[in-house]
Amino acid sequence: MFNLWSFTMTCLLIKSSNAHWGVIYDEDSTGLRSHTLSMLVNDSPGVLNIVTCVMSRRGYNIQSLAVGTKLVQQLNKLIDLHEVRDITHLPFAERELMLIKIAVNTAARRDILDIAGIFWAKAVDASDHTITLELTGDLN
């Protein structure tokens, strides 16, 4: 009974882009446009591979709008996919997370934490010779 509706699923945000992270509303100089797709897929083994296979088998860049639309249609054929949406033109939040492990002895730890504090980084692990910081932010 516990798991009755917990159809385990993973949300994927797939972004196809090159150097222009974050510039998603404007066309770049090449006339290409990044697309951000949101997908709801079964949590089955190899599902990420199944999705990326659809993109990679075309062999070309998937940035042009026409190809982007076709891509969505091809993704729709995947049995393990519940829903795909092109959210490029919808407002959405996009965040990145970074974990940084620093070799540092206990004597210098305070300095590191001070710098980390300036950048809103959080210590998530420490030992006598390392410290691990967590940093989150938008993609710019």
Binding site: F7, C11, L40, S44, P45, N49, R57, K70, H82, P91
Partner: protein, 668 residues
Amino acid sequence: MSTMAAAAPNTSCSKPSTFPSSCSKTLKPIFSFALPFSPLPHKTTLHRSLHISSSLSQPNPKPTSAAAATAVATTISTTTGQETFVSRFGPDEPRKGADVLVEALEREGVIDVFAYPGGASLEIHQALTRSNIIRNVLPRHEQGGVFAAEGYARSSGRPGVCISTSGPGATNLVSGLADALLDSIPIVAITGQVPRRMIGTDAFQETPIVEVTRSITKHNYLVLDVEDIPIVVKEAFFLASSGRPGPVLIDVPKDIQQQLVIPNWNQPIRLAGYMSRLPKSPDEAHLEQIVRLISESKKPVLYVGGGCLNSSEELRRFVELTGIPVASTLMGLGAYPTADEYSLQMLGMHGTVYANYAVDKSDLLLAFGVRFDDRVTGKLEAFASRAKIVHIDIDSAEIGKNKQPHVSVCADLKVALKGINKILESRSNRGKLNFSAWREELNDQKVKFPLSFKTFGEAIPPQYAIQVLDELTNGNAIISTGVGQHQMWSAQFYKYKRPRQWLTSGGLGAMGFGLPAAIGAAVANPDSIVVDIDGDGSFIMNVQELATISVEKLPVKIMLLNNQHLGMVVQWEDRFYKANRAHTYLGNPSNESEIFPNMLKFADACGIPAARVTKKEDLRGAIQKMLDTPGPFLLDVIVPHQEHVLPMIPSGGAFKDVITEGDGRTTY
């Protein structure tokens, strides 16, 4: 072998710790659904909005559940006839996974399989011997097995089943799976796999076949829990035959085949996303619009393909009501009778002049169950450039893929045509459609540019051989082919009367398809005449299947159009490479005067009667003898290699580039 057998009894571990628990975890909870699918899409929407940021929370109004579920329910109910299925096992009797697998096939109505055994699949074969419902036709190569399963499916409409072992057995299925995907043929391929604990260790005969076949199957499964076998098989057959049909592969590790289990046959299908995307019934307004376009048009033409094979009756009715001429793709041959007066026969690269003329001049193209393949369209911009396009297809990804339609309907063509016919019937008293001027124009083209061939002395024109076969079988035989010139001539010169009579590798163009496909057709249609019209190159690619035909006593006739060359490539060499022969001679270069190889001896080696015919005057008698001989027969028809398949629109060309003259006796 003995070690394998000894290992059998003590492998009933229920959950090997070596495997990530997520595998079974993800499957388990789903089983507990009481209702099959309708509630699911609903729930996923809710679920999603919890996971993604709130700015997304405008879930698409999904018209999913009701329509999809009802559409699906009808399909499912055909399989629920298994309520009456009587199992060989008691309800609480543990049995091996392999026995569960075989019973699952039985419950899907399978009576024939094409299975070639090996180390990782012998458990399945042992279980097959315990089944008194399923007959195995033993191919001599796994590729023969999968092509036979395709021939079975193509000729009967029922899913074909092939089984092979792991590693090389599985990789030998690859061509057949790709072929089935490109031609949308429902097959279920089952492969043995090394035991779970050995997966990923480069074990003997291990290939990651699920990874290998990912992009050439509609869907595939690696079974990691013996309890999943019933539901995986049920889903596989449903996926293979619903929506746009296609191949589904099930990879079953050997330890799972051996594991003892009491199966649960009542697990509901877990295909919520897929179900929600199955096409709904077509919108009445769209159908009305199509009828309006038809009544406004002066030069409409039908472009029908493989998607029409189940809607032959509705298509005939539609033509009856409208009088619109019908051009067929290679895959659609037979959906509308080829010899009928409204038929323009095949269109495309090697289509008739009048079919391509009709599309070129038309003002309304009715594209039903087709995908605007490059062999049909040639240069896309020039294809049907004067026409409004109506596209009906079951696969939404095909609509607008190559050509942007003016009106499109994503639906089962059968349902759509029924709807259109109903509208046409209701308005039949108000102003009849009349396209006789247009048909007159096309008839002129038929007279001006008929399909034709020339005769040179005593030599047998290959086209003539097919024409005679058509006459002598009264257009009623099931025809399979290899790939190349003989395939195109078989498409042009045999007059198909009904769908599923024409079995050919269209999208993939896999040589070696003809002989095993004929096996599948003969197994599925024991009372039909089955003729494999083959080329010498294609025939030899699966020549080993002669052994299968012989021992299974299948009445397969083989009419070999033997020109000692790779004919289609020779034709291209003649036309575009100054007739430079680049490894396209298949005879023996050191003795060109003798036919090589001697195909009659292949037949003889398998105890199949055979004959060779070289003169035109002897041909009719030879074909008659082939048809009159009970059981299989090989007729080796020696034909000149200079013949070209005509008409021909060079690839990427347009209608104006059509070639109607010439052969390999001319230089270009």
